[in-house]
Structures are given as C-alpha cells and as structure tokens.
Symmetry: C2
Subunit: 333 residues, 2 copies
C-alpha cells in the first residue's frame, strides 16, 4: 500500500481491491461484509439487502443524466443485482458553499423523478455544507434497503458452460462523462450515458432462467467485473469480441480519448451469468424490455485459464483482460 491516497484507490480497479482486502475487511470482519458484493444481505424476520454509494461524478451534469439520476440508479441497481427488490433510499448531500440553488433544484427534481421510476421511497437524509474550495459543487451519498427475493446469487454458483450475457451496449456512461469533461461533447449528439434503473431487467432475467450472478459493471467496466467473477476460482471467462455490443459513438469517443470500452463504466447495463440451457430464454425476456433490446450473449465460462478473462478478438487472436489498473476514469460516478 502507498503512503498517501492516490486517485487509483477510487478507480474500482486493483488498488481499490487492495484497499478493501488489506484495510477494510480485516478491520470490520463479518459475514455479510466479507462476501464483498455491492449490497450486503442481512438476516432477520425478512432478509434484506443493504447498499451504499457516494457519488462524485464530474461534471455533475452529462449527456443522458446528472448526479441526481445517477445517485438513485447506482444504489437501486446494486440492490437489484444482489437479488433484492429496492424499497427505501437515504439521501445525503455534501454541498460546496456557493453551489447554485437552481442547479440543486434540478438535481433534486431528477432524484425525485428517478426514485418514482424505481418505485423507491427516499425516507431519510442529511445535508452538510463545506467552505468554497473544500468540495466540488455537490457530492451525494445514497444508501438503500431492499427485500431479498433471490438468495441464490453469487460467484459460487457459476459453472463451466454457463453463458455470459450483457443487457446492452457497453461503455456509454464512461465515454459520455469523459467526453463531457473534456469539453468535446455538446450534449446534442447521439452519445449519451446509459444511466437507468435495472430492477425490471434483473427480475425478468431471474424469472426467465437460472441466473448464477448479476452485476452492474460500473467503475472498471465489464472487464473488471468479469475478472471479479472468476478470480481465485478454477474458472475462466471467454469473451467473443464480435458479440460484445459497442455503439459506434462510444467506439469513436474511446478512440479519441484513448480509452477501452471494455473498461468504461456502464450505469444502466447488467451482466448476468446464466445456466447454458437458459441463455435463450433469458435473452428473449431481456429483448422484450426497454433497455434490454440489445442484450447479447458475449461469452462462456470455461476452465482454460483459471481465474482469468480471455478475449477472443475479432481478428482471430486472443488477449488476456486483467482488472483495471490505475485510474482510467476518475470521478465517473
């Protein structure tokens, strides 16, 4: 571990994992935490899913969304991916002195709108203000509670032969935010964040077949999340590059910015590992829903290289995809 915090520790990649594994897990050691899912499953009269996320996206407004939409989608999706039905959110602002009330109203309206779509209630909150120069406009934390519906999700359920499904084209959120930050994007073009609620897609997939694990590939993109599925296991993710949906606008933006769409954050896409016989029915269910039209099976679970992710490229070659190292995309969410 380094002596000081660098941006890499917030990247969602290798340094973030190091920080969690070496500092946080030993300090707070307990069963729900140690699973290191995006949401913790809590035992009780009713089993609950509990999740938290702080949002520091820069700029706070980007094509296809803003920090308000994002802070609802992010936490709601973490609960849905853990097999829960999201019910309640908390909302906590850290505002910088001088932030425009008009902008705050726009953000609050987006939060209310997205919470309604997600069918969650915002039931408690907090507001802090820091001096000018000690923040960056607005940071938001949302934490959420859902009712666990499917306790049989997790990487321990993944088997050789399973299919890997993504619910839509990848990298739109990361590419949009980075283009907006660079000033290269005016917001009227076709490149937009994929930011959206995933509860309906998650429920449909689980109803349609035997789903082993669900995740929204945010920081670190699909490459990093797929690595997390198989690390420390005898399994391999084999991806077919030609099957991975990447919008032409995202591909162009990534070329321009020197990014790889497979490492770019999505905020409205779902990765699902599905039993082989159920891949067609899950794809069919997703294709019927808004936001799932481009769902595709992008790979298979094998045992060729234990713990690794292999990309079979469009040119017939093979490439190992590691976890994100360094901060390809700081402050993307």
């Amino acid at each position: 571990m380094d002596d000081i915090i660098t941006l890499d520790y917030g990247s969602g990649g290798i340094k973030t994992s190091d920080f969690i594994d070496n500092l946080l897990v030993p300090a707070f050691d307990n069963t729900p935490l140690n699973k290191l899912a995006d949401g913790a499953v809590l035992d009780g009269a009713e089993r609950l899913v509990f999740s938290t996320d702080s949002f520091v996206v820069s700029p706070w407004k980007f094509p296809g969304g803003n920090i308000g939409r994002l802070c609802v989608c992010g936490t709601v999706n973490d609960i849905a991916m853990a097999g829960g039905i999201p019910k309640y959110l908390s909302l906590s602002f850290i505002l910088e002195e001088g932030f425009k009330m008009w902008d705050l109203k726009e953000i609050i309206a987006s939060i209310a709108d997205e919470a309604k779509k997600a069918q969650v209630m915002i039931v408690t909150g907090d507001t802090k203000v820091v001096e000018h120069g000690k923040g960056d406009g607005i940071y938001i934390n949302t934490s959420g509670i859902g009712i666990l519906k499917n306790p049989r999700l997790g990487k321990e359920y993944i088997r050789p032969g399973d299919g890997v499904i993504v619910s839509g084209s990848v990298g739109c959120h990361g590419a949009s935010v980075m283009m907006a930050r660079s000033g290269l994007l005016d917001g009227d073009g076709p490149l937009r964040s994929d930011c959206r609620i995933l509860t309906d897609l998650a429920v449909a997939a689980q109803d349609a077949g035997n789903v082993r694990i669900l995740r929204d590939p945010t920081r670190g993109g699909i490459a990093t999340v797929l690595n997390e599925f198989v690390e420390d296991s005898p399994l391999t993710v084999e991806l077919n590059e030609t099957a991975i949906p990447v919008d032409a606008t995202v591909a162009s933006a990534c070329d321009l910015l020197g990014l790889d769409p497979l490492y770019c954050a999505c905020e409205g896409r779902m990765l699902a590992v599905v039993a082989p016989e159920d891949v067609p029915s899950v794809l069919d269910a997703l294709h019927r829903l808004s936001g799932g039209e481009k769902a595709a099976c992008i790979g298979t679970i094998t045992q060729k290289r234990p713990g690794q992710v292999i990309l079979n490229t469009s040119l017939g070659g093979r490439r190992l995809l590691g976890k994100l190292s360094g901060h390809q995309l700081p402050r993307i969410c």
Copy 2:
C-alpha cells in the same frame, strides 16, 4: 431561499429547516420521511429504523475523538434516539488525493473500535477519491439500520407537565472542535468531545419510565432541538438555566470563542422528555450508567408561550431561545 448555497444551509438551524421543508419534503413526499426524525421508521415483517449522516468535521481529529469515532456514534445514536436497537452500518469514504494512509488507518481503527462498542456490524461500503483541492482530506457517510423497539416516541406524545432531561453536560463536542480548529487547544487539557454511543442510555431511560421523545442534540445544540420539539404546537419548553450542566472548561471555551453552550453540538448527550411521575426513576437509571452520571432535569413542558423555548436565567430573568440562525459552528460533525 437564496440563489446560492451558503454555510448556513448546513448549520442545522433555520436555513437547514427551510431547505428541508421547502425543497426536500415536497420533492420526496412520503410518510416515513415527512416525520423528519433523524431516523425513518420502515414498515415490514420487522419494523426498522433507517438513518444516514455525512461527516465533514474539521479538523478530522479533535480532543476526545476523530471523524471515525464520530461517524459511528452519529448514525448509531440517531437510530437509538428513534427507539431502535442499531444493528448494521454502511461506510462510504470520499477521500482527497494525497490524504495520508497512516491517518486513514487510524480512522479505520477508530471506526472498528467504536462499532464493536456499539455492537453494530459494518456490512457494506464504498470508496471514492477526488483530486487534490476538491475535498478536505476525508469525508465519511455512514447509514444505519436498527430494529424498532419502541414505536411510541415522537413530539406528538409530549404533554404539559412533562420533564426535560439531559443525560450530561452540554456543548462539549462543539467547544472542543472549535477550540481545536482555532489552534487554541493542545489536546492534553480537560476539554474533550463528549462523542459516545447512546444506545445503553436510551434503552435504560425507556425501561425506567414513560419517555415521550428522545434526541441527541448535535448541530444547533439543545436550544435548537428543544425548539423542534414544540414548534407548531401549543406547548412551551421552560428551562432552568441553573439546572443545565455546563462544564467549566466548556463555559470558558465558549466565552473565549463567543459561542453559547446551549447552541453548541453534543455528540454523546441525550435529551429526553419524560412523563412527570417518571422523571426520578429515569434520572436514577441514567445516573447508574457511564456517561449518564451528570444527568439532570433541566426544565418542564408548559403552555405559557406556544411553540417556544423559554430560559429562566440564573439572575431571575427570562429569555426566549430561538433556533440557531446562521452558522455558529460550521463543519462540527
């Protein structure tokens, strides 16, 4: 409402109330939120208390505690004050690039230590890093879930004749942090934050008598919280200045800094309104516990001036105590 956010909006006083009442409640309107308690009560198979707080205290270390201890106490206490037994916490960091790993380890150790004392598990988390100059070292959000044990707490239960109890001397946290910030305090003196878990005191008070409402007087101090107990009601809080425990060190610090201890934050004190006949038994129960030794009945509920808080001063005069206006103590928690 102003056109820009000022520090006043984070003070816990009048502007904070305006912001909540005019912007947040209309946007997110729902029954658990509209009660505006520090924790929301959620219906379900088991009734839950859900609370959130972001911590931006400056400096992050102060005599008697640090942001790590504070972020556990703050959220745990909000749940205890709502009649719940705290069970689970989430933990989310917003770190500034360049923050020292050594300091972060100290904070994490304090969090682990305080969580153990509070008998809560930290079950989920998140870490974001912002560029140097876009934060102030470390901000932390904790959200928490507890099991509701006492659904009969709230200002609607307050009656004329009830006693007002405080569990210990007031203003220690606010005075300590402000002295530390001013550089006037070296940490070896007797002035220390009162930062502590209140679950045991809250449970003891509720077991010992008919408690109408509980609150920890953080931002805005006891004066602001007591105003919230009676505003928009026909009731009055009448306080006896001589009965309010104020440590000599806090009184001196407040004199020096131009602060009023009644508006200074506590982070380990509890205000309880108690049925008249149960005041002695509740005081007796608190006196037996660590942190409750100086518990005192500091006033009575009357109907003299509807919706207001009156201080009967040590000199025989009377003073109206309004809610905190402006930011007496920015970034105190």
